[in-house]
């Protein structure tokens, strides 16, 4: 114990001003020794109270030090630091710029992470709000499972853990009248929805349980953005009528800005359940359920209550609920999901960049301090204490850090605007909420302080470590190779920099390789010159399937006649849009399949108009395509994809086989299914990363749903057909908005937008890191060369060839970068498993990437050593020897 106290005192003692340090140490030791002597006389060890008392030595030491440092002295330091920085504007500019970029990039990425992952969601007590997902008992952890209306109603009635539970369905509605027809994302919500979230309306009221009955008034609540855009932000809009999907609804409220849940919803409509929904639809899962905990109810308790209840339902309805259970997710997890890893990965990467920035600036400071040895020696000789010199350097680095932080904040504000403006199609939720707020500013200040400490302390301690006054003042103290210890520290810094740069380069390389393999996967259709747009038929205006088919036929016929169009067709469930039904077979070749049937296939259902496959360039492998003869009333015909053929009929020709899905598609339609007439090529409907799933294509004319995506193969650029097609649609029905206007090229690019963004950012970080590392290598080498001028001069005078001199410098660079490379690759290999989830078609330890990084680094280190080496070889021996 006594030893511990003594060690502590010794540790603290440097803080005490030098002249009174001995007395200070003596006094504290004596007091401790006195207590120790007393207690040992009483036969005890040193009491804990005395040890605790020794902690007070630190405030005492700090007080003594601060007492010595008066404010005017600090002011003097500041003035001196500013003046000495001003004298070398080049140094100041490089340092500030480097720091500004490093700190700014960190602040911006932190801002994005905060918006997406950290900032509380915009409703009160968000931790009490959960989503309830219907999941399978085999994979209960998979988020996003929707729930059937009867299950939801049972949960709501019988659960005890929640104050309120509500369901929502996100779709889209056509808004017409008072301006152009417009398709906006909507949310159908049950009455408790806004109470669960706890957000009141800005004007009017939210939807309430009173809006739930099937015969209640048709009402709507506007989201803030739609209200601003279409109704010019007039509060008087409450109480007026708006035409939604062809029928009038009364606007009862407007939501405040910043409220958007489900994401992007712009209009809220009541979700109502007819009697038949409740009875017959326990298998139809389409509701997203949210709930708010009662006070005091824990997540685990609510989870176990719902799991138990799910077992009750499973016992009661084994056919639909047999393998289902309920899993609770925090609202944030449900929203953000997989993006979280990527965000933290980026934050880590940019943190590495900042680390390199610190190392580099530390190196700059160190170089500068070495150049100022003489100045320090003179100041010390004139009576400045070592502490004073250290303090001066620390003040200097604090000033640089602070200014760097300010530059960084400006840079961050600029980057933040870019991040917030990124395309929503990127699929990173809440990213548009990124902004520089108080927390980001505090973060930036903290980071600046931390960097200042990191890059300032080392050189300061270093400078003060050995002040050989007489030696430093004499100008001839320039040794032949410089202080070997200092050189070692700088080399270590460069190695560290290089290693970090290597880690980032490997990361960028892996992402690049992954991206390349992602984009080289054939998607299964001929993607060029394909323009798409969607149309939806409001039920009041297109009540019968015949009216929808007629409209679609006319639209496609007239579109095909447009001069820009080579071929026109349409589909429900366009590839790369995540839209399709997944339904299990109910019967196969007349045999009923039950839940227990192991070979009960699950297929993706898509509905196509005639000529779909030829328009998209999807090959028909066997049989025929779907055409104009496959109409309502004709025998139901089906085209399946190759995966379905292989999985369902592995040993037989699928043509001619029959199946049924057991549910009707659309209102009053026939039971979906039919006879297989052809096999089409596989399409990667869910993007390059997901393999094709078994898919069946039905004829749209036989199952006319109220939504359709038109596909046009154009003669020229796809965009040229958009306006003629819009005019055509307006001519056919001015109330039908044209929406989701995208070319297939855009869609293919959207599905890889996230990986592309990550790749771009990481490549940027890695590039910056490599540049900084190269500057570091260059700095060390030029310093060495200038220190070795005399030695090299002697060597040259004694007959060394310039080539030998060059190779000795290059060898030094190679040694530094080689060690850095090895360390970096080891770190990268160890960290590899963390990025596994972000990679596609490439292993975390990828030879090609590793070799490429090594090669790249070799080139960079050669380039960095080129100038110093050349300078070394051109040293004039005579001048060098006359150096002093």
């Amino acid at each position: 114990m006594k030893r511990l106290c003594d060690g502590w005192l010794r540790l603290v003692s440097p803080v005490v001003p030098h002249d009174i340090r001995r007395d200070w140490l003596r006094e504290w030791r004596a007091e401790i020794a006195f207590v120790a002597a007393q207690s040992s006389r009483a036969g005890l060890g040193l009491p804990v109270g005395a040890v605790w008392r020794a902690v007070g030595a630190l405030p005492h030491a700090v007080w003594l030090r601060c007492d010595r440092w008066r404010f005017d002295m600090i002011a003097q330091d500041v003035k001196y630091a500013v003046r000495s920085l001003w004298k070398r504007p080049g140094f100041a500019a490089v340092t500030l710029l480097t720091l500004g970029i490093g700190i700014g990039a960190n602040a911006a990425i932190f801002g994005a992470v905060r918006a997406v992952v950290l900032r509380p969601l915009p409703f009160p007590d968000p931790d009490s709000v959960v989503t309830l997902s219907t999941t399978t008992t085999t994979r209960p952890g998979l988020p996003g499972g929707s729930t059937s209306p009867p299950d939801f109603l049972d949960w709501r009635r019988d659960s005890r853990s929640f104050t309120e539970m509500a369901a929502s369905v996100a779709e889209a509605s056509a808004i017409t009248g008072d301006g152009p027809a417009e398709q906006v994302p909507n949310a159908h919500v049950t009455g408790g929805f806004f109470n669960v979230l706890g957000v009141p309306a800005l004007y009017g009221r939210t939807l309430q349980p009173g809006d739930d009955p099937i015969n209640a008034d048709d009402v709507a609540v506007l989201g803030h953005s739609l209200w601003m855009r279409r109704f010019n932000g007039r509060p008087g809009v409450v109480g007026t009528l708006v035409t939604v999907d062809g029928s009038p609804r009364r606007i009862v409220g407007v939501m405040p800005a910043g409220f958007s849940y489900p994401l992007r919803a712009e209009i809220y409509l009541p979700q109502r359940f007819a009697e038949k929904d409740i009875i017959g639809q326990r298998g139809a899962q389409y509701l997203d359920v949210i709930a708010r905990f009662k006070p005091g109810v824990t997540f685990t308790a609510a989870q176990s209550e719902m799991r138990t209840y799910a077992r009750t339902l499973a016992a009661q309805y084994p056919r639909t609920n047999g393998n289902r259970t309920v899993t609770l997710f925090g609202v944030r997890d449900a929203l953000v999901g997989s993006v979280r890893t990527a965000m933290f990965f980026l934050l880590g990467a940019v943190g590495f960049v900042l680390l390199i920035v610190c190392v580099n600036v530390a190196n700059l400071f160190l170089t500068r301090a070495l150049g100022r040895q003489r100045e320090f020696a003179v100041r010390a000789a004139l009576g400045a204490s070592r502490a004073r010199l250290v303090r001066g350097l620390l003040v200097e680095s604090a000033i640089v850090g602070g200014a760097g932080g300010a530059v960084g904040l400006l840079f961050a504000a600029w980057l933040t605007a870019i991040i917030a403006g990124l395309d929503q199609g990127l699929g990173i939720p809440l990213l548009d909420q990124t902004r520089v707020d108080g927390v980001v500013v505090v973060f930036t200040a903290g980071v600046s302080l931390l960097t200042a400490i990191m890059f300032g302390t080392l050189p300061a301690l270093h400078t003060s470590a050995k002040l050989d006054l007489a030696g430093r003042i004499r100008a001839d103290a320039v040794t032949t190779t410089g202080d070997p210890h200092k050189q070692r520290v700088r080399s270590a810094l460069v190695i560290l920099e290089t290693a970090i740069a290597v880690v980032l380069l490997v990361g960028a390389g892996l992402l690049a390789r992954s991206f390349a393999s992602m984009t080289s996967v054939p998607l299964g259709f001929a993607g060029d010159n394909l323009q798409t747009f969607s149309v939806s038929f409001p039920p009041p205006k297109y009540p019968s399937s015949g009216s929808r088919t007629t409209f679609a036929d006319t639209l496609l016929e007239r579109a095909a006649a447009l001069p820009q169009v080579e071929s026109a067709s349409a589909i429900f469930g366009l590839p790369l849009t995540d839209l399709s039904y997944a339904i299990s077979f109910a019967s196969l070749d007349g045999r009923r399949l039950t839940r227990e049937d192991a070979r009960r296939p699950m297929v993706q259902v898509r509905l196509v108009a005639p000529k779909y496959f030829s328009t998209m360039g999807i090959p028909i492998r066997r049989g025929r395509s779907l055409d104009a003869t496959d109409r309502a009333g004709a025998a139901l015909a089906v085209v399946i994809n190759e995966t379905a053929a292989k999985e369902i009929w592995p040993d037989a020709d699928p043509i001619g086989h029959e199946f049924s899905l057991g549910t009707p598609l659309g209102l009053q339609g026939p039971i979906a299914g039919g006879r297989v007439v052809g096999v089409a090529g596989d399409v990667r409907d869910f993007g390059p990363v997901t393999v094709s799933k078994p898919t069946v294509y039905l004829s749209f004319a036989q199952f006319p749903l109220n939504y359709l995506t038109v596909v046009l193969r154009t003669r020229g650029a796809p965009a040229t057909v958009v306006e003629p097609a819009r005019a055509l649609l307006k001519d056919l029905d001015p109330d039908l908005p044209m929406f989701e206007v995208r070319s297939m090229t855009q869609l293919s690019s959207n599905v890889v937008a996230q990986p592309r963004l990550y790749l771009l950012l990481l490549a940027l970080f890695a590039g910056a890191a490599m540049l900084l590392a190269a500057i570091g290598i260059y700095g060390v080498l030029s310093h060495t060369v200038s220190q070795r001028t005399r030695e090299i001069g002697i060597r040259l005078a004694l007959g060394a060839a310039p080539g030998q001199v060059v190779s000795s410098v290059v060898a030094q660079a190679s040694a530094l970068s080689f060690v850095g490379l090895v360390v970096g690759l080891l770190i990268a290999a160890a960290a590899g498993r963390f990025v596994q989830g972000l990679l596609f078609g490439v292993k975390p330890i990828d030879t090609v990437t590793y070799v490429a990084v090594a090669g790249g680094l070799a080139v960079v280190s050669l380039v960095a050593s080129w100038l110093p080496a050349r300078r070394a070889s051109r040293i004039d021996p005579v001048a060098a020897l006359k150096h002093d």
Partner: protein
């Protein structure tokens, strides 16, 4: 004369009462070491106390190093009595608020 803070009065009073070593003052006042020592250094800087080392021989006899002791100087005694009467006056006005301080200075 600038008025002393309550902590300084506390420490000064303890020394005046004959508790002259750092840890004794801590024991006496009940204040933490991180408060007492800076207060001592401050008082010494302002000339209200002065310090010296106790007799080496006496300490060695007990098998420990010599301790540093503090004595109140004449200005210190004056400052103490002025400040103490100020706080006592304060005490008369707000007896409950200052009650705790009186207890520990006694």
């Amino acid at each position: 004369m600038r008025r002393l803070r309550i902590t300084a009065v506390n420490v000064l009073q303890a020394i005046a009462n004959g508790y002259e070593y750092g840890f004794d003052i801590i024991d006496q006042t009940g204040l933490p070491s991180g408060t007492v020592y800076p207060a001592l250094s401050r008082l010494e800087r302002d000339g209200l106390v002065r310090s010296a080392w106790e007799d080496e021989a006496a300490a060695h006899a007990e098998g420990r190093p010599a301790r540093r002791y503090y004595r109140v100087t004449a200005p210190g005694a004056r400052a103490l009595s002025e400040s103490a009467s100020f706080y006592r006056a304060l005490l008369a006005v707000r007896p409950r608020a200052a009650g705790k301080a009186t207890r520990s200075t006694r």
